[in-house]
Amino acid sequence: MSDELLRVNGLKVHFDAGRAPGGGRRTVHAVDGVDFSVRKGTSYGIVGESGSGKSTIAQAIMRLVPITEGSIFLKEHQISGLEGQSLRAVRDRFQMVFQDPFSSLNPRKKARAAIREPLDLLGIGDEKGRDKVAEDMLAAVGLHREAGRLFPHQFSGGQRQRLCIARALASRPELIVCDEPVSALDVAIQAQILNLLRQLQAEMGLSYVFISHDLAVVQYVCDEVAVMYLGEFVEKAPAAKLFSSAMHPYTWSLMSAALSPEAERGTLAKRPLLGGEPPSPTAPPPGCRFAARCPFATERCRAEKPALRGFGEGHRVACHYAGELEPPIPELRRAA
């Protein structure tokens, strides 16, 4: 596809976790073979629980963790293979916004210096030009142009996240990797930041990789969504497709656990809830990784690993019984 901006092929990120009890080494399979691509001007959402490996994907794209296997292309640049100066030469094209706007800003740097830093490091423009960019970016994220004189502690949490977005925008990137950008924020501020991200995307044609544990937030921002469990994608589809006809039992369980202010009291108690917790990523089970918690699992699931299979319109599901199971969510049954 010509409008493809980011392409991730067979990405694996494994970490060494020390000596195993019975001799040999233990390995954390944080990301265990994922493929996806992000089209220009769109948002690609990755949802999953903590420990599923979604943040590791973000860090791998940003080249903040070593890539064990696979490749990452930003347009024609294979960024997974670049090092040192050649990596720095394309750094301006992709930037990141982190979850915690408190720990991701240097408390001793004024806002303007924080936003300028990527430009200083990458040697983009001259002194005056960089200050101008910093001011423009402050304005673009809805802060006062003069706010550059202030230190991070003089901003609220929501304003700090705006600062982090301004810093990510400074080098005029095409891709911004957002790792849980609103989960540390109050709901009123969360809405402001989500709307800002959408507005900036529309104005600047940005693409996002958007990582979140919150399905409703992902639905609000993303065009395509992948659901991740224990290092692998279990389902991926265009957002409208996923939220209208999800097929993987894990996706259903995330949907079942979602709360709504309109719901009747005790709604969760009436829904089939997922028991237990994910198994350890140091020793992923041989078959389907979700089998131990899946209410539909059979012997086959525990023995044989399901591959992602296509169900049309870009909808892919890694479940032996995809399409044969009855969704436990009434809204999805009506749609089918």
């Binding site: 009123a188 501020i189 609000y220 409208a240 939220f243 209208s244 009291r265």
Partner: protein, 333 residues
């Protein structure tokens, strides 16, 4: 509502003594929690939700002080009782579950020891009986292999399991009120659902009242019978959960409702995403409260009166009150 509620907070004011004088962090807050019911306390961070809980428990940080009002537990004003009486109340009659289970458990004692300590202290059980109670409690919160897990340390549990241990500790002395301060904020959604289901089940079995502090209106809809909404140190709306979630009277409450993203499944998922409404601006800083209604600078309905005179609590429906000049009385069917 008639009779004495289990807990009644009356006109509670808490101040922080600073170099430049006293700053009010809670201002004239009133609420009542009935026996066996769940009260949701909602609002953005810094609005005084946790401060209210700490004031009730008399666990305010140094420099903070209750300067007016009462906290009545079955009619007894506990703002004035001696510390010894307070210690008997805490854990025994009122217990607390905190947001971050890792920092509220002691890493160098086994979870069994920590649960047993509470019952030894408060109920005078001997070591054997206390251990027995600890096993019962771990079973009640559905921790598999309770007998063996008794001897495990907090770091050997996952986040969700640790929060279950916290709930077991809170329930061990059969309290009549549990204050849960953002109990699931640090947990995954599927684990949150398990914890909420567990809390409901345990409430039905034990009849304890729950004060649930949360910023999530979805959690309120799931668990609460009654709701109090806080803004900038004031309780600005209170009433039955159904009434507040369906007919919010205060513009801040309806603002919170409309900025909460909803999961849209089925056909709704194919519609273009509706734009999330925002509440512009942010919560005012402590000590820099605007004149008049504190929400006025962010309120779409505010006029001159709102900006100059603090609105009183107005009855807008059965047991439903809002502190807003613009609040309209519910049309009751």
């Amino acid at each position: 509502m008639t009779g004495t509620p289990f807990l009644e907070v009356r006109n509670l004011t808490v101040e922080m003594k600073g170099e430049s004088g006293a700053i009010r962090v809670l201002d004239d807050v009133s609420l009542r929690i009935e026996r066996g019911r769940t009260m949701g306390i909602v609002g953005e961070s810094g609005c005084g939700k946790s401060m209210t809980a700490l004031a009730i428990m008399r666990l305010l940080p140094p420099g903070f002080e209750i300067t007016a009002g009462q906290v009545l537990v079955e009619g007894e004003d506990i703002t004035r009782v001696p510390e010894a009486r307070m210690r008997a109340l805490r854990g025994n009659d009122i217990s607390m579950i905190f947001q971050e289970p890792m920092t509220s458990l002691n890493p160098v004692f086994t979870v069994g020891d920590q649960i047993a300590e509470a019952v030894k202290q408060h109920q005078g059980l001997d070591a054997g009986a206390a251990e027995q109670r600890a096993i019962e409690m771990l079973k009640a919160v559905q921790i598999p292999g309770a007998e063996a897990r008794l001897h495990a340390y907090p770091h050997e549990f996952s986040g969700g399991m640790r929060q279950r241990v916290m709930i077991a500790m809170a329930l061990a002395c059969q309290p009549r009120l549990i204050i849960a301060d953002e109990p699931t904020t640090a947990l995954d959604v599927t684990v949150q659902a398990q914890i909420f289901a567990l809390m409901r089940e345990l409430q039905q079995e034990t009849g304890t009242a729950i004060m649930l502090i949360t910023h999530d209106l979805g959690a309120v809809a799931e668990l609460a019978d009654d709701v109090a909404v806080f803004y900038a140190g004031k309780r600005i709306e209170s009433g039955p959960a159904g009434a507040i979630l369906r007919h919010a009277a205060h513009p801040y409450t309806s603002g919170l409702m409309s900025c909460t993203p909803r999961l849209r499944l089925s056909a709704a998922a194919r519609d273009g995403a509706a734009v999330l409404r925002e509440i512009p601006g942010m919560v005012p800083q402590l000590g820099r409260m605007p004149q008049g209604c504190r929400f006025a600078p962010r309120c779409p309905l505010a006029d001159d009166r709102c900006r100059s005179v603090m609105p009183p609590d107005v009855e807008v429906g059965p047991a439903h009150a809002a502190a807003c000049w613009k609040a309209e009385t519910e049309v009751m069917a």
